[in-house]
Amino acid sequence: MENNGDVQMTAENDDQEEEEVTAQSVLLAIEEAWLNEKFAPEILPHRSDLVDCMLQQIMHMEENMKRLDKEDLRLMIHRMELDRIKYVITNYLRARLEKIEKYTIHILSQEATRSSEECYLTVAELQFAKEFLTNIEMLFKTIALQHMPGNFQTFEVDTLTVKPNLQTYVFLRANDRINGIIVPGSMDEEIDLEPGSQHIIQYSAVADLVKSGAVKLI
């Protein structure tokens, strides 16, 4: 199906044709990533590949829209669609920022153990997290710590760490068939997920499946 941001109906070359195939699937993937991020207690591996690709599509579309007549019906329709997509993207990024602000120390310490290929944060997010932590520390020091007696003046990272509750319950729908998930807290009780079936279960039991895309949170 043809579906990229091309307002003019001509597909100029084959490369573009290929892009057209993926635009829709990228959008679906972003929407899934958005919901997963929204409902997962911990921060998930970043999908900047999807975000960057979609932002490019949006820019491309906006360029094309400039060529349209103000009265053109398409202008309004494309604008509405872009607004919807931008909403999903901003909401996705914001959900991640919220988690970064909440679990800063925890996320940074976890991130330090990951190699650059498997890191969960984008470069910009990592920088944000570090600056956020520095600012918090500065705030603590200027407001309170410096007025304390000497042995209370240290900024104790360990006591300030907030960790996400991975045992929280989540709703999910299975994308693939999955066998033998062990229900946490039970006596070796196992469940199988049929594709398309819906469940509520502890996040920790399915965290890896969320990250691999075998299930999606709903």
Partner: protein
């Protein structure tokens, strides 16, 4: 999640409209729509249908399942069944709400459809509350939620997972004290 976000998701579902204008195919990022031919039905996402309707550029054809008689049948089935029956759409409530709001003049029997959907919703919600109660009392750790729709799941989201979280805390807390207790007494 905010109910309007569930509605936002439901607006991606397709609905048939009869445009009163003609236009070539439009290539959206989410897929192509059209071509539009005045007087001929065409499938578009609900967000587009609602917008075109508001500009009086189309009539909305009701979803196949939004028919008072078949909904009433579904209602009877829902009443008789112990389990949740399969709904015609994962967003039946939102779709009905959106379409009936904007296109009640295109949809015959709008009032009866509205009542039937509201009844189905009420039956299912009370079933959901009963089963949640039973689930919590049985101290279950996992539940299958097939055929529950997006809005129904969202309506119990603040309560059910939170209740389970708290139960887990009490249990693990209890276990920790117990082992601590038995540990010190030895």
């Amino acid at each position: 999640m905010d109910p309007c976000e569930i509605e936002f998701l439901s607006e991606k579902e397709l609905v048939s409209i009869i445009p009163n204008f003609s236009f070539d195919m439009i290539h959206l990022i989410s897929g192509s729509v059209g071509p539009f031919r005045a007087g001929l039905p065409v499938k578009v996402p609900i967000w587009l249908a609602v917008n075109l309707k508001q500009q009086q550029k189309c009539r909305i054809i009701n979803q196949d399942w939004m028919d008072a008689d078949s909904l009433n049948e579904a209602k009877e089935e829902e009443k008789l069944s112990k389990l949740f029956t399969k709904m015609p759409s994962n967003h039946y409530m939102e779709e009905a709400q959106l379409l009936l709001n904007v296109a009640s003049d295109d949809i015959s029997d709008a009032d009866r459809i509205k009542t039937a959907i509201k009844d189905i919703w009420d039956i299912r919600m009370s079933k959901l509350r009963t089963s949640i109660d039973a689930f919590l009392k049985s101290e279950g750790l996992h539940a299958k939620l097939d055929h529950l729709t997006a809005m129904e799941i969202n309506s119990v989201r603040p309560l059910l997972p939170h209740a389970l979280d708290q139960m887990l805390r009490i249990q693990t807390g209890g276990r920790a004290t117990q082992s601590h207790y038995s540990g010190t007494s030895q």
